[in-house]
Amino acid sequence: MSVLTSGEFWAFVGVVAGIYTILTLGLQIEFGYAGLLNFGHVAFMAIGSYTMAILVVKSGWSMWLAAPAAVVASAAAGVVLGLATLRLRADYFAIVTIALSEIVRYVATNEDRLTGGSQGTINLAGAEEASDYNSQWQRFQDWFQGALHLGSKDVAMLLLVWAVALVLTALVALSIRTPWGRVLRAIREDEDAARSLGKNVFAYKLQALALGSALAGVAGLFYAWQFAFFSPADFAPLLTFFAWMILILGGVGRAWAVPVGALVFGVIFAGTRFFEFAPFTWFDSAERAYLRLMVIGLVLIGLILFRPQGLLGKREELVLE
């Protein structure tokens, strides 16, 4: 029970929530604003993480150059996705995006020499070099920790992630209030009406995908920095579904709903670890992991049934009706 009050544990939960915030912000732009059903979102996170790691370890780039390059790579991948699939009707698009994200995962799993294969980045260049992309970050994080006299590494990472997450949230919120954002929302409402008013719908959708994927790439960077080693299994479709859940939980179409949704999701997910009462006590810890995911699934269903506008959404502006 003492873990429940452990600062480190909750700092960790906070970090993960921060990463999910950045990831879901991307989805908010793609779906919440532009109405695109991207169910392969996690692939762009993977591209961000892997691109940075590969550039640093295999090509010897400085991490501070590899990071923005990775974000650009994610954005470019988003554009490629769009060029190939935006002509499809919404349901086909959704299915194809899942397929594409699985392709990315398969390639990452099987191209050992490029990505370290299924064992992950620990394999990238042999044991002692694999942490190279992380050591530059660790040094920065340690400096940050020292400069602010923080107690632990987790707290340092927490602050860094959330600083970025909140800035990005603010930027996304601002962007939707521009004329550009207005066109996106119009596209979500009625594409043909938007076209009849002179808006190049295809171009805007591509932009939404590029930005959304870039954000996923940034999330991927923080994922790589937080977890040091990662593997393709970390980027399973389940993560995309978590992002969707957070999106709905917070409220579709409102940028500031994303951090709220991510925090609540984090608390639900982590908090269920500590339920020391029946029926949870009937299960051993391995089984509780299944139970936790079950709870997540039930929460998602419950949201759709009872509160589709999420925590912060308004009923009239319901996208999920």
């Binding site: 349901d91 390639v107 699934g297 049934l305 009706e321």
Partner: protein, 294 residues
């Protein structure tokens, strides 16, 4: 080798085809992209394996039990989840997301009930049938036979019974069907029963063919099944059949050395997805789908 791959492809294709018909019916009639269908297949396989190995009742009883269980579960879920959503006039997105939530719940439930260890059916692994240059395991032969029977029966149902024709009418045009006075309640029930049974069959066959399977395997199959459905034109059960077989065959054949060395077998699922994407680029409505002015 080519013929062997073709035979393997037919087997894989059969599994895809049966599942694809189920998915297609659910989509066509209920407008639900059933993301939990893979886990329903897993459920069928696990129920069957319990009846087969744990209770020792043999494959036929096991499959029957699986079909009953999966149909019952599907119908139960209609009452618990889909009906309330229909009452709220949920749109495509809501239904899709609800099915994702359902998939999560179902899979974890299977993990909880049966545990994570891989299972296998009680089939003689050494029994091999040889036709010319093609060798088929006992499991594969059973799969083909059962698949053919199932497909023929479903085809007969859809083409020649009133219920079947009604189902196809509703799948084709829901609002029109309602106006024509079709009892959509009965059709909905029939859809869940049939798609549940098909999921069970597909799950059992897949488990047979794969020799061992764990609670995740249904979902792994689901994406190629979706690909088959989209390929054949969504909502069209015959298209789904064709799509399933096509994908199964193309996927297996792609590993043939005659095609410039052949694709690494580990990339077979990628081939399925690649085929889907290429076809959709050229023909966005799918092979047998109708070009709708959306």
């Amino acid at each position: 080798m080519f013929l062997q791959l073709l035979a393997n492809g037919l087997v894989t294709g059969a599994v895809y085809a049966i599942a694809a018909v189920g998915v297609s019916l659910v989509y066509g009639i209920l407008r639900i992209v059933h993301f939990a269908y893979g886990d329903l297949m897993t459920f069928g396989a696990f129920v069957a394996v319990t009846f087969d190995t744990t209770l020792g009742l043999g494959m036929i009883v096991a499959t029957a039990a699986a079909m009953v269980a999966a149909s019952a579960l599907s119908v139960g879920l209609d009452f618990a989840l889909w009906r309330p959503l229909r009452a709220r006039r949920a749109n495509f997105m809501s239904l899709f997301l609800a099915s994702i939530g359902l998939a999560l719940v179902l899979r974890q439930a299977i993990f909880l009930a049966w545990g994570p260890q891989p299972r296998a059916f009680d089939v003689d692994p050494f029994k091999v049938y040889t036709i010319g240059s093609v060798r088929l395991s006992g499991a594969q032969v059973i799969a083909i036979v059962v698949a053919v029977v199932a497909i023929v029966l479903v085809g007969l149902l859809l083409s020649f019974t009133t219920l079947g024709r009604t189902m196809r009418a509703v799948a084709d045009d829901r609002s029109l069907a309602a106006v024509a006075g079709i009892d959509t309640g009965r059709v909905v029930l029939a859809t869940w029963v049939l798609s549940g049974a098909l999921a069970a069959i597909a799950g059992v066959l897949a488990g047979l063919v794969q020799s061992t399977f764990d609670p995740n395997f249904g979902f792994t199959l689901l994406l190629p099944v979706f690909a088959a459905v989209v390929l054949g034109g969504i909502g069209n059960p015959y298209g789904a059949l064709a799509g399933g077989f096509l994908l199964g065959i193309v996927t297996e054949l792609s590993t043939w050395e005659g095609f410039g060395g052949g694709v690494d077998p580990v990339y077979k699922p990628v081939v399925a997805f690649a085929v889907l994407i290429v076809v959709l680029l050229a023909r966005p409505q799918g092979i047998l789908g109708r070009a709708r002015l959306v």
